[in-house]
Amino acid sequence: MAEFPDKPITFVTPYPPGGSHSLHAGVITTVAEPYFGQPMISVIRKGGGGVVGAAGVMKAPADGYTLLFGDPTINSLRPQVEDLPYGTDDFKAVARINYSPAVFVARADAPFKDLKSMIAYAKSNPGKLVHSNDNKNGFTYTVFEMLKFKTGTDMKGIIYGGGGPAIAKILGGETVAYAGAPSVVGEHIKSGKLVGICTTDFEPWPSLPDVPTCKSLGTDIIFHFWRGVVVPKATPEPVVAKLSAGFEKLVQDKGFLRLIGKINSRVDFLGHKKFDALLKKEQADLKALYDSLK
């Protein structure tokens, strides 16, 4: 048998074009060839909020030629709480490319300016604090569930089906709070339309140094929206290791770094072993959270 890989590799993005996933996929697949010895073909399989693409990869041959560009939503969250055709253990971790935290934000004219007053407001007005959500069981939905759970508050979330409409509705005044990726909310914080409340990371995000972490304010919420590569679980270990090594070299490529900077992103690489450990922990944490919510 020829050495892996001896034919082009398919890189499946389960989200529609234009979002951050497809942008990253475009950058990754353009610079991939020298690091794998084969071209990497970017395929967009959108639908069902990522489920269609993920289910498609899960059913593909486990030979390392079909990769899924996954994230916590489709790999850790939804398989545990929804009736999907695949589970969390149907995939094997290959490499984490990077992550972003969520940043809680409020309208500049909201009746609260920081985490403390936000919690106080929510406590004295149960169910009255209306916030934007992207998708049910999505990234921004989950951090708000975490916030409500950890602070014992009751707020009303409206599901807008995506970051674009969610931010439009907070800017338009239909909602007063939201939690989104730094790239989505950053410009609005800088322009003064929104106020940064806190970040769900260990350290403040570099481009928003003035927004404190939630942890430093006494509410321990850490949540990373990672972008990473996974394969069907039956993929042989040597193939996974080889792919992981390829991605490790890819993320150090000069052209890659220049392009990733252009799309306002960065690299937080993890190889297959560390990524696998992170994934297992994340899935267990989320299970605990959702069990406690029931």
Binding site: G48, V51, H188
Partner: protein, 539 residues
Amino acid sequence: MDVLDNLAQGFELISTWQSLTAALAGLAAGIVIGALPGLTATMAVAVLAPFTFFMESVIGIPFLLGIYKGAIYGGSIPAITINTPGTAAAAATALDGSALARQGRGRLALETSLVASVIADLIATFVLIFVAAPLAAVAIKFGSPDFTMLYLFALTMIAGVSGNSFAKGAMSVGLGMLMACVGLDPVSGYQRLTFGSIDLLGGIALVPLLIGMFALSEILIQAEKHGRRKLAEIDGADQGRGLDLRTFRRLVPTILRSTGIGTFLGALPGLGAEISCWISYGVASKRSKEPEKFGKGSVEGVAAAEAGNNAVCPAALIPMMVFGIPGDTITAVLLGAFMAQGLLPGPLLFQQHGPILYGFFAILLVTNVMLLVFGLGAIRYLRHITRIPPGLLYPSVTVLCFAGAFAVNNATFDWIVMVAGGVAGYLMRKTNVPIPPLVIAMLLAPGLENNIRQSLTLSDGSYAVFVESPLAAAILILTLTVTVFFTWRSFHLTPTPQPPNPSEEARDNEKDLDTQATRHGHRRCRHGRRRRSDGRVPG
């Protein structure tokens, strides 16, 4: 003036052969892609966007803007020549455009479509340049209940204007909405109508269905007629008559009105060219002196639909640039391309990258002139498409159908969707159930559903939320008015396939003609009178 200074700088910035060539290349590529059924403007931009990551922003973005405009215009070409909209936005154009082509007036339809597109685009671009920020500020205030009513209004209009019978139109809308339910429930994650099939989890793909319903069904219809006649029955001299000044002057009010509608709807986040063309078309048919011609070869219909969908392009850039919120799917992709160039759309964009933005505005104006020149040249050859023997044309289109249906999602399942859509479309044509309402309802239903759910979450389940907002209430009243009108019309006007006789409707129109002659300066007044007479005519 500040804006003009900036614009002058913008022109300077893009007056390089690289920028202009990129825009021209994009325009040409866009027209071709838009003209191929199944290759949508969104896809064209999505597929070619990554290439621009490596280009300078004053080259890459003009290229993409060229594609965007080219593709939206290009969609009208097959809509007119072979009754198959190249993009969903051209579905309304197909109604009258293809009827005209069949009457041997293909060139007139193509030129009308081009001129209407260019004028609408030009005006909307100026709106973008001068009032982008204030307009977006109004648009963002639209809440979920307002959007709900806007969707409802759009669906009512589509059901009412796209066929002879309101009942059949409404039936088609209902079917479309039902089909849109297939897939994962957006809120609870339940599987709806998937019958356990993984392929249906993401719902029925719209573009393959659209290709099947419009293109494949047309081929089936033509296959029946094979050998009996040529596609365009009248060849020769008449085919050559284009758009003259007199006809053009008659179209100006329609074009301006549709441009206004398109600009406004484009500036609302989430509503694209696909909706705007129908609302423009519907309004034009109500305001027309010859409403009976709509759907049977009305030049006004072509102008309204095309002005309506092209005005959306520049307008949709308004919320994208000012708030980072895409107005439609294409601008969603453009948003990514902007970000890849380090141009972060949002409130700070104008402050940080003013000169480059005005360069893009300049490109929009330049590509418009290019489109006109390019289009007028191309039309001389394009109209001959209608004279290609069906035996050659339709097999080629069939191949394109299959290629296009697969290319959208890279899914073989979509072939099944397309073929099923083709058969269903054929049956619908045979029973005179209009197809466009079904397709557009599929497109709009998810937005309607989401906005209803959002409104009801906001109001804790109270339906009063839909009348509490003055805007939503106003749109609701408008929707009820047109529903009454359409219902009245279907009871009092039996569908007449033959030229209309001097009926109630015709006399009504004559009256309108008179008022129109003395209309100067009394637009609003006339508008009010018309509305009343619509509601009250006892028949």
